[in-house]
Amino acid sequence: MNLLDFANSIEGYLLVSSILFVLGVFAVLTRKNAIGILLGIELILNAAGINFVAFSKFHSAAMDGQMVALFIILIAAAEAAVALAIILRFYRLKQTIDADEASLLRN
């Protein structure tokens, strides 16, 4: 069971997507920069997309797995657009996009 076969089987895809997922979560939690957080979020969504495609390919003949992946990409794009707009205004108001700055509202 060499590396190539592994890469081609379902486990390979799942391994990649879970790695991506963990990286995304880690990025969201630790990045100071707001854009960094957005990147993390995109990673998580893509991980889900890979998952869908992999399962659709290996397990069921139906195409709805790919269809969902398509929708994920679409929604990720919309989300990114709105997120960037918000971060832009945040920058215009605070002249910085450091996530920890946003702590006016607390306890």
Partner: protein, 488 residues
């Protein structure tokens, strides 16, 4: 196909009004100054409600399984349209949404309501995801609606980060479930689960939790409630009002739908039994208990009224979750009744807070000082809403809790949850009375000057206060309605 469109009529009317408003606003600029867009929203909600009435007899899946309309969904449709109309009525006199943003606000509001009904109707994970995303993205924008204020912007930023992560987790969970069951439509998932009766791999439970993350974020239950106080405090008050009623109910609708169709079977006489191998009750009980306790305890030492109401809404989520622990029709009808009652009193409370923040400028408890004496009508209404939120008899809040605890007590073994719930409502009395104490028990500094309330607000507040009392005494008609919806 035609049948599906007919069943989808309410949403379609909504989209029709939405696009009409969109065009009108584009071409007739002077519409902005007067209150036309908000009135338009109300008219569209009315239209959608009538459409729901027409479509309510069509039950069963539509759009080949993507959407399921039954008694529950008709209830949630009425609920969303009513709360959207009420919020529009509320913003008529609000200073935070001034003439400049009124039309954008209306369009976004209608679009949000459309997303909500999508969530409640969805019978398929994809439709669910789309619904949740539409609602989330529009709420990010609404949260940050007042451009200049830094707090509103911060609120939207936090909501954005938190919301995106949670829906990310959810979609990852959905992908895992898709992997395990091979399908995304709820009924097929149920069949797949029944097939390998009880021997579910660990990953499936992990996936269930991740999916719950999406719902929990929407209804702000314990692990995912951190964003609520900051967003409610930062967002403009009408927006916060709608957040506390609309999306929360949609979250419950979707969760209810998911559990009932995907995770359990409905046997002959309308009883739901969980698919073997899935034991949700203990987990939900712990979640409900922790949500209640967190909501109530953190509200104790608050001095900002909007944060108090935010935590109180979290606490109420805890009470509703109690209904989920017990899978009986009585429990679900009490959940529905509780949501109706919660909507009325919460809208009222937020509305009064909105009026006071407009008048006094800041939303600290001290700005409520001596208000009962200056504006007795406002004081009385607020007293009614707060007493009802605490669950004092004679008010509808008590009946809601009464039904919930009644359903819970019938199941042996969860008496401790009922006891915790009951003690929590005592604790909640303290912070509700903190507001009332400021309004009535402290005399205003200057001499008592009676401020006049505009007529619209009086009518609106009465529209919410009167049912809170009437439902407290004669609640059987509404209860029968709720039971009918659940039975369908």
């Amino acid at each position: 196909m035609l049948m599906s469109l007919k069943a989808f009529l309410p949403e379609l009317t909504l989209v029709g009004f939405l696009s009409a408003l969109f065009l009108l606003d584009g071409f007739v600029p002077k519409l902005r100054e007067n209150r036309f867009p908000l009135v338009w929203v109300m008219v569209s909600c009315l239209g959608a409600a009538l459409a729901t009435k027409a479509a309510s007899n069509l039950t069963g899946p539509f759009f080949n399984g993507m959407v399921l309309s039954n008694g529950l969904s008709t209830f949630f449709r009425y609920f969303f349209f009513f709360s959207c109309g009420a919020t529009a009525y509320l913003t008529l006199s609000s200073k935070e949404i001034d003439s400049r943003g009124r039309s954008e606000f209306s369009i976004l509001l209608l679009c949000l309501t459309f997303g909500l009904s999508l969530m409640a109707l969805s019978n398929h994970f994809l439709m669910l995801y789309i619904g949740i995303e539409t609602v989330s993205i529009i709420s990010f924008v609404l949260a940050g609606f007042s451009r200049e204020s830094l707090r509103s912007n911060e609120a939207s930023f936090k909501y954005l980060v938190y919301g995106a992560v949670s829906s990310g987790l959810m979609i990852f969970g959905i992908s895992l479930i898709y992997g395990y069951t091979g399908t995304l439509a709820y009924p097929q998932i149920a069949e797949a689960l029944v097939k390998n009766n009880g021997a579910h791999p660990y990953v499936f439970y992990l996936a269930l939790f991740l999916v719950y993350a999406g719902f929990a974020y929407k209804i702000s239950s314990f692990p995912f409630h951190f964003w609520t106080p900051d967003v409610y405090e930062g967002a403009p008050t009408p927006v916060a009002t709608f957040f506390s009623v609309g999306p929360k109910a949609a979250g419950f609708g979707a969760l209810l739908h998911f559990i009932l169709t995907a995770l359990s079977q409905k046997d002959g006489n309308g009883q739901w039994t969980m698919i073997p191998g899935i034991q949700l009750a203990p987990i939900l009980a712990v979640l409900s208990a922790t949500t209640m306790v967190v909501g109530n305890l953190s509200a104790i030492a608050q001095t900002n009224v909007k944060r108090i109401l935010a935590f109180s809404s979290i606490a109420h989520v805890g009470y509703v979750l109690m209904g989920f622990v017990v899978m009986t029709p009585a429990a679900f009808s009490s959940i529905i009744f509780y949501l109706i009652v919660y909507c009325a009193m919460n809208l009222g409370a937020f509305w009064v807070v909105g009026i006071v923040t407009d008048l006094q400028g800041n939303d600290d408890v001290s700005s409520f000082r001596g208000l009962g004496w200056n504006m007795p009508f406002l004081g009385v209404c607020m007293a009614i809403f707060l007493f009802s939120l605490t669950g004092i008899p004679l008010f509808s809040g008590f009946i809601g809790k009464f039904l919930l605890f009644g359903a819970l007590i019938q199941v042996p073994g969860y008496l401790w949850l009922a006891l915790l719930g009951v003690l929590n409502s005592v604790v909640s009395l303290y912070y509700y009375m903190k507001i009332l104490k400021a309004m009535w028990l402290e005399r205003p500094e200057g001499e008592v000057k009676a401020l006049r309330l505009p007529l619209t607000q009086i009518v609106g507040l009465l529209g919410l206060a009167v049912p809170t009392i009437v439902l407290g005494l004669f609640f059987s008609p509404v209860l029968e309605l709720a039971q009918k919806w659940v039975a369908q």
